[in-house]
């Protein structure tokens, strides 16, 4: 593809261990996790702080204390105040957006070096009062004297006092993601066993990757107060599960005949991740890795009512077309696993002529993504899925795989709430 843009290289990336919510990161929030990832990144890669032009972090569930968690986190990690920082929010593709926004700044000459990533803590979700109560509390700040307070209490019902927890539900449809995906997998003919097998594969591959030391250069050892014991492993990976065990689980969202269970879905996770992107020129000057660069990226949008999590199919197809590449050109596939079934549904869709014609407007089907090249070190179902951070994990793993597997192109794709999709292609110079 011809382009007038400056080449952007993905130098490297790091993430905190991803932990199941309410485990060892229980006392931490978005700020702390972002700080840990950004700190570890700059220390392990020996970044010179004056070289960094921007810090961009994705975040989905803001706790209200750190609306610009990129800024708070980078300052806490000792980055320079002179480096601007901002936070982006695009559901589960927030880190993807952080990276591509950074890449745009670089390729248009506005920056030479950007640290981009994301964070989410499901141990620190903001629990709010419901709207009627919030209205009363806001009014209470203006109240003068007991008379005003009494007036405020009038008409208040007991149920107003109940808390409102952010739901992982689609705003426009009211459906939870699990409910939606249950519908999706049925539509694309993905059965319970397919899903359980894919989930088990994810756990086994992630377990093996850890065993083989493949994550040693991707995952930081973090130490947190008050104990500062080293935490260096993800804690949600269960490579020893069996199909029998998975089969026993009841459907979690649609009962009694749904197919999505707690085991074939990604779980609530705490974690943060970040990558370093640079202009090729700058990386060369600093003697840093220029091996893997960004080829192109795109985003897609579909109707959240029906095609909520079909982003990978839409965005990938769009990007392949734009770059003139075909599936057979791609050596490394890293797809976000919101649900095992959601990945399989997208794979089926790409391999279905009717879908590709009707939904993607193509003349023929894209084809089958070879599973042997897809998420071969596990995915969000096994490693976990801190919403804002996952994109940076996918990018780092894809980059490292390209080098390790001596490949040329890597396709990173992910779905997100709102019917959004992200696709990024990295190219390794061979």
């Amino acid at each position: 593809m011809e382009s007038n843009y400056r080449p952007v290289v993905l130098v490297d990336g790091r993430r905190t261990p991803f932990l199941r919510a309410s485990t060892d990161y229980h006392d931490l929030g978005n700020y702390d996790l972002a700080r840990l990832a950004l700190l570890g990144l700059r220390q392990t890669l020996n970044l010179n702080l004056t070289d960094i032009d921007y810090v961009i972090m994705g975040n989905v569930i803001s706790n209200g204390i750190n609306p610009n968690v990129a800024r708070d986190g980078m300052l806490g990690a000792g980055y320079l105040p002179a480096t601007p920082a901002f936070t982006v929010s695009q559901a589960c593709i927030s880190a993807n957006r952080a990276f591509t926004s950074g890449a745009d700044l670089i390729r248009t000459g506005q920056a030479d070096m950007v640290v981009a990533g994301g964070v989410d803590s499901m141990s620190d979700v903001p629990i709010m009062f419901k709207k009627p109560m919030r209205k009363r509390l806001m009014a209470a700040q203006r109240a003068k004297g007991p008379g005003d307070y009494l007036k405020l209490l009038k008409g208040m019902s007991l149920s107003d006092l109940g808390p409102q927890v952010p739901a992982i539900a689609e705003f426009s449809t009211g459906l939870s993601m699990g409910q939606d995906t249950d519908r999706l997998v049925a539509r694309f003919g993905v059965g319970r066993v397919d899903q359980d097998e894919f989930a088990l594969r994810s756990h086994q591959l992630a377990g093996k990757a850890w065993e083989d030391g493949l994550f040693d250069d991707e995952v930081l050892t973090v130490q947190i107060p008050p104990k500062f014991a080293p935490i260096s492993q993800d804690n949600g990976i269960r490579p020893d599960s069996t199909m029998e065990q998975l089969a026993k689980l009841k459907p979690a969202f649609v009962r009694p005949h749904g197919t999505i269970t707690a085991a074939n879905a990604s779980y609530l996770t705490d974690g943060a991740a970040a990558v370093v992107a640079m202009s090729e020129e700058k990386a060369k000057a600093l003697g840093m890795s220029t091996e893997v660069r960004l080829l192109e990226y795109t985003y897609s949008g579909t109707n959240p009512d029906g095609d909520l999590l079909m982003g990978p199919a839409h965005a990938s197809a769009k990007l392949l077309q734009r770059t003139g590449l075909t599936l057979s050109d791609i050596d490394v596939f890293e797809f976000h696993e919101a649900f095992a079934g959601q990945v399989l549904a997208n794979l089926n869709a790409l391999d279905t002529a009717a879908f590709c014609k009707a939904d993607l407007g193509l003349s023929k089907k894209i084809g089958r993504v070879p599973v042997g090249k897809l998420n071969i070190h596990g995915g969000s179902v096994s490693i976990g899925h801190p919403f804002g951070a996952t994109g940076a994990r996918l990018l780092t793993t894809a980059r490292n795989r390209l080098i390790r597997e001596d490949g040329r192109y890597a396709l990173i794709a992910a779905c997100a709430a709102g019917g959004l999709g992200s696709a990024i292609i990295l190219e390794r110079s061979k």
């Binding site: 700080r35 700190l39 220390q43 020996n46 300052l75 806490g76 990690a77 000792g78 050892t221 130490q223 107060p225 008050p226 104990k227 500062f228 014991a229 080293p230 260096s232």
Partner: protein
Amino acid sequence: MAYCDIERHDDVVVVWLDEPKSTVNTLSMDMLDEFEAMIDDIEKDNDVKGAVLISRKKDVFIAGADVKALLEMESGEQATELSRRGNALLSRMANLKKPIIAAIHGACLGGGNEVAMACHYRIATDHPKTILGQPEVKLGLLPGGGGTQRLPRLVGLTKALDILLTGKNIYPYPAKKMGLIDEIIHPPGLLQAAIAVARDGVPERDVKRSTMDKVLESTSFTRDYVTKKALETVERKTRGNYPAPKKILECVSIGLDEGLEKGLEAESKGFGELQETPECKQLIGLFLATQEAKHNPFEKKAKDVSSLAMLGAGFMGAGITEVSITKGIEVTLRDLNMEGVGRAKQTIWKNLQSKVKKRALSSFQSDVIMSRIEGVTDLEQIKGADIVVEAVFEDIDLKKRIVAEVESVCGRSTIFASNTSSLPIGEIAADAKYPQNIIGMHYFSPVPKMPLLEIIVTDKTTQAVKGTAIKLGQRQGKVVIVVNDGPGFYTTRVLTALTNEAIQMLAEGARIEDVDNAMKDFGFPVGPITLMDEVGIDVGAHIARGALADMFRARGIEDNSVIQDIAKAGLHGRKTGKGFYTYGKGKSKSINTDMYKYFGGEDRKDFDKKTIQDRVGLIFVNEAVRCLEENILTSALDGDLGAVMGLGYPPFRGGPFRFIDSEGAQTIVDKLKALEEVHGVRFQASKLLVTMAKENRSFYD
């Protein structure tokens, strides 16, 4: 006018304190003269509604009185006069009908705090450099500008006694809570806020005092109870060695029982009396010496250190890391595993948290400071370090191996500093490729609290390396002394002489507590036996096997092999729960009488306190003089600073060399001779001391 720069803001006079040719403001006669004239003007001028006192200096309001001038005063009477004048003036200011507002940013200490307290309203900035307090007691003095009177009236008796008797710093938020200041504001808003108060009048005071405090302060009977309790604590802690705290209590009581006038007069008198005491003179001398130690003779060749690599994350490694990161230095902290690094981080974090609790630091600032630590396990990761400090186990072969490893990953200009307490630096550097880069940086435990850094240089160490090490130590907030290499350098050598003698006395039948108590009465903060338990008997035994022991043995200082047996038996002191003392939960401890089996059984003899003090104390000062004689020390001043700041030698005695000067060299020589006759050659007076006695010289002019 020289000290004050007057500025009119319509109906308010702003007095900028700006002592000429100085980076700080100090209280002096000249300044008081100007104050007087200024008060006259404010009083007379009908257009003036009030005044603001504010400083033009960076991060200093008034740092205290000119102690050097105080030391040089010929008599206590002169000091009393100064205090009387100051008090008269400050009382006049306090009684002025127009409000004077203290606008405090930076250090507001001693006389500075007294000026502020005589004002009608105090606003302080929320800046970390803003601290208040009455540190006079640390110099053997009392606050002679109304501090013993106005402080109890502002903050209550119990809080006031705590501040006056400890001399500690008070940060703005606690100061506001107790009523020492009335308002807190950000630095840029300080002046406008103070002007507003001066113009609009002083608002009603709003301080909540606890019921308990109110009750305790309500009658002279209950007040007496509080002061009596405080006196008991003071006596227990100072063992009668420091006259100042007692005087402070006396002045506070008189002021509360008989009124401000009488209190101020008692204070002025007490101020003069204390100024004449040798304790005060020694303490001020020491204070001035620490100021002098801030000089770096190799400043020009020194490099700035913005990062260092710390090898070993034990208690010392954690301490050195803490004093570095709190001063903005990035530290790569290396240990064999991340658990070790984690323990060090935890130690540091807890210390920072205690500052967060006092609001001297925000939780975010603590994060930023912690972010300066990079924990690593692979030595490869320290490459690129400008300076490497090692605090690994005290083993010469290990240290030599570390030197080789560091040299293999780092550059030829990387400084290698060893935090050894006794291993000769020359030996550590014996096989080094770049011995010119090797230096000793001997910190004292706990590093964040102990002010001394003993830097050890060899004849190969370059000036650039020396200069950089000194600069680093000073940036870490340490009082730095530079000594030459030799067994035990200076501090470990004199300390070992002292503990050896203490053990010798146990072997002769002395009781553990008698030895400890005698030396505490002499003025050491802990007795020598307790000190061995604290340092670790295994550490002592290790030192006793090295070059230092060989040297001592040649001079007839027998190291008792018994200490090896004790160490072998696993009795290592506090860390193992058992040493000369048995350690229970918390702070409780009791004599471990089992220990006497190593010293001839449980039958113990009475030893006269003076005998213990002479034997243990004089062997120490004699050894110190030997260090000077052998050019281990290059000045008596370093010897005094090292002994007081590093070893707890009684500060009111000024250090071993000041001690000899005040006793007279001949007296010490005579005493040593007498001891030598009874106990043998180890008490032989050093040649230098004998010469000094013969020529009737002293170490200081």
